[in-house]
Every structure is written in C-alpha cells, then in structure tokens.
C-alpha cells in the first residue's frame, strides 16, 4: 500500500503534467506529488529524447557559428543520451532492440541532415529554451521548454520537434497545437509586435524516414479553451482528486503499475 508521502507542490505547471493528469490522475500523483520513479520506461520515449538531444546539439552548433556536425557526431550525441538510461529499465516494443533503434536513428539523422530543415529560415534565438510565464492570474506560472525559436523579419517561429511512427496528416498540426499555442502565448509577450508562427517538424520512424514541416494556426479561441482546461485540471489537482483511470492504451506501458495495484486511496 502507498503510504502517506509528503506532497511536493510546485510553483508552476507544465503541459506534460496537465496531460498526465488528464490521462490518469493517479499517475500524476505518483509522478509529480509523491516523486516516485517509474519502474520501466518505454524505448520510444528514450529514443525520442535521444534524437531530440542530437537535433539540439545540431542547432546549438549553428547558433554558435561552429561547423555543422557530421552524422557520426550526431550519432555520438544520440548514443550518449541513450546511455543515460539504464537498459534494464527500458521496455522495448515488438521487434525492437537497441541495435534496431540505433540503426533507425542513423537513418533519421541522415534524413534530417540532408533536408532543407537543417538550414534554418531565420535567426536562431533559442534552442531547448525554457520559458516561464503567466497564463491566467489564478494559475501558477506555465513552465515549458521550446525546441527551437527562430526570428524572421516579420515573425517569431516557435518550433516543436516530433518523432512519429508515420507521417502526419495536414490536419494533425492543428489537432495537436495546444502545447505550441500556450508557448506561443508566452513568446508573443516577450517579443511584442512580432507575429507568432507555430510549426511542427515531424521526423518519421519509418524504414525510409521522412521529414515534414507543418504549420499550426494560432487559434485564439482554442488557446482560451486550453487555458480553461488547465484551470479545471488545476482545480482538480488542488482538490486532491487522484484516482486511477484504467485504459488498455496506457496501463500496458505505465511504469507505476505496482504502485497502482497497491493503492488503496489517498491519505487523509
């Protein structure tokens, strides 16, 4: 049984924390309040982080005016990031191995390096940049990390890098724009007078990887709705509404299964 652990309230909220709560409030509690480590982590999560690390390294090199890294250098960054996770804790999918994923990373990074997106269409002003600011007065600050911030003559581009099993449909950028909208809302207060553009760079984890650049619309009404969702989730968190939300999609790869099984209610 989970014993009464001291909650660790934070003075900010993050998009991923809110999404975690929406997916399973008990998982939120285990991760963000009880500070429990997950027993397993999915290989795709580790893989995505390692690819991110390589792309971050690439962009930072560009910003610093250093020569573009080679594929081997990017692979080295990828492998270093991978090694930071202990293999025993990584849960691989069907037909996945460390080697098959490294080979996939090689193909994806090669695709990225030879694409137009390796040449930014503006000045880089932020790489993996941490943003913090107010969304609404009754919420704690939003803390986020933007993959890439570019400045063009007329706009600031907020770019999010995604790895995906398959190519995105045109409509998917708008469907998944909530996080970018929130970050865009913070960025426009930082750089008033500039138009804000929201972009996804999608790199597919396919045999022949593809890279896509998809723009999401800055939809003010969707932004307001997202803020409203955050306010309601925050109210539920403050009220201590933590309960398991079983789902075949989520429970299989959840790293808190034994904690969840042992849970017998919130401490009073």
């Amino acid at each position: 049984m989970i014993t009464a652990a001291s909650p660790q309230p934070r003075d900010y909220i993050s998009y991923s924390a809110v999404r975690t709560f929406q997916g399973c409030p008990l998982r939120y509690r285990f991760r963000y309040l009880d500070g429990l480590s997950e027993e397993v982590v999915s290989a795709s999560l580790v893989f995505g982080s390692a690819i991110h690390a390589a792309v971050e390294f690439f962009s930072m090199r560009q910003l610093s005016g250093e020569p573009c890294p080679t594929r081997d250098e990017l692979l080295e960054v990828y492998q270093d990031a991978w090694k930071q996770e202990r293999e025993a804790e990584i849960c691989f999918g069907k037909n996945e191995t460390v080697d098959s994923l490294h080979s996939l990373a090689d193909r994806m990074l090669r695709t990225f390096l030879t694409s137009d997106l390796a040449k930014p269409r503006g000045r880089i002003i932020g790489v993996e940049e941490e943003l913090r600011g107010e969304l609404t007065p009754d919420l704690p600050d939003l803390l986020g990390r933007v993959d890439l911030l570019l400045e063009t003559d007329d706009a600031v581009v907020v770019q999010d890098f995604k790895t995906s099993r398959s190519a995105w449909a045109e409509t998917q950028a708008d469907e998944q724009s909530e996080q970018l909208l929130l970050y865009g809302d913070l960025v426009r207060k930082l750089m008033p007078g500039k138009q804000i553009r929201l972009e996804f760079v999608v790199l597919t984890k396919t045999k022949s990887p593809k890279i896509q650049l998809l723009e999401a619309c800055f939809d003010e009404s969707k932004l307001d709705r997202t803020k409203l969702v955050f306010q309601n989730v925050w109210s539920a968190i403050q009220a201590g509404h933590f309960y398991p939300a079983p789902s075949p999609m989520q429970c299989g790869g959840c790293g808190y299964r034994s904690h969840c099984d042992a849970w017998r209610g919130n401490p009073t």
Partner: protein
Amino acid sequence: MPAKLTVGLSRKVGEPNYGSRGASVNLEVELDSALITDPFVVQDRVRKLYTLARRGIEEELGIESPATESPRLSTSHAGSANGREPTTLTSSQQRAIFAIARRSRLDPNHLVQSRYRLDRVEDLSIRQASELIDALKHGQTELRS
C-alpha cells in the same frame, strides 16, 4: 475549530557606509480545519502567504521583484522600467556568445561594455544578442581581451 496559519518573513538590504535597512512582515490567517487534512492545500496557502509577504517587503524596501507579470526566459531577469527592451537574451544566446568569444579569444563582457554600454552579457536584449552573435560570427568585433 479553525486552525491558524502564521508566516513571517524579514529581509535586510545593504546601504552605503556599511549601513542597512530592514523590513519584516508577519501574517496570520485562520484556516478551515477541514483543509488541514489536505497537505497540498495547506502548502498552497502557505506559498501564497509568503508571496504576499515577499511583495510587501520588496515594496517597503523599494526592491524590484523578480516575479513579473510578463513571461521570462530561464536566464532572463525580467522586464525593466529603464527604457531597455523588456526581455534579456535567451540562455542559448548567452551560451553561444561565450562559446564564440572563447574561440576568438575575446572578452564578451568587454565587448558588451564597449558596444552597448551595458555591464554584462546577461544585460543584452534578445535583439542585441542576435546582432552581437552575427558580428562575432563574421569577425566584426575588434576588441581583444
């Protein structure tokens, strides 16, 4: 029976000639005893009271609060009322300036002082940092350390 929540905060700032000024605030509020069972709610109340106390002290001592209403980047030190652009450079711009200056054997703070009449790299705006990075990349800086 209601419970009481008390927080206290004091702060001292240095003055010329080894002097100092101080201010302290103590706040006491009543809390519904039903809320005591939820440590998260209590922590949240405590945090809000400390924020209130901190603001009162900063106002009394004439200190600019680091907590602003506008968003800030991780390394930014908030907007200023001194006519400068509202946001300081990003952490990645800062790292880039130091990296390029190190390669070029330049003193970045010296460059900032001579080009922008600012004290440190950290005081640059996003635009100034972009401009300086471009200049550094193209070797358009003449000051060596």
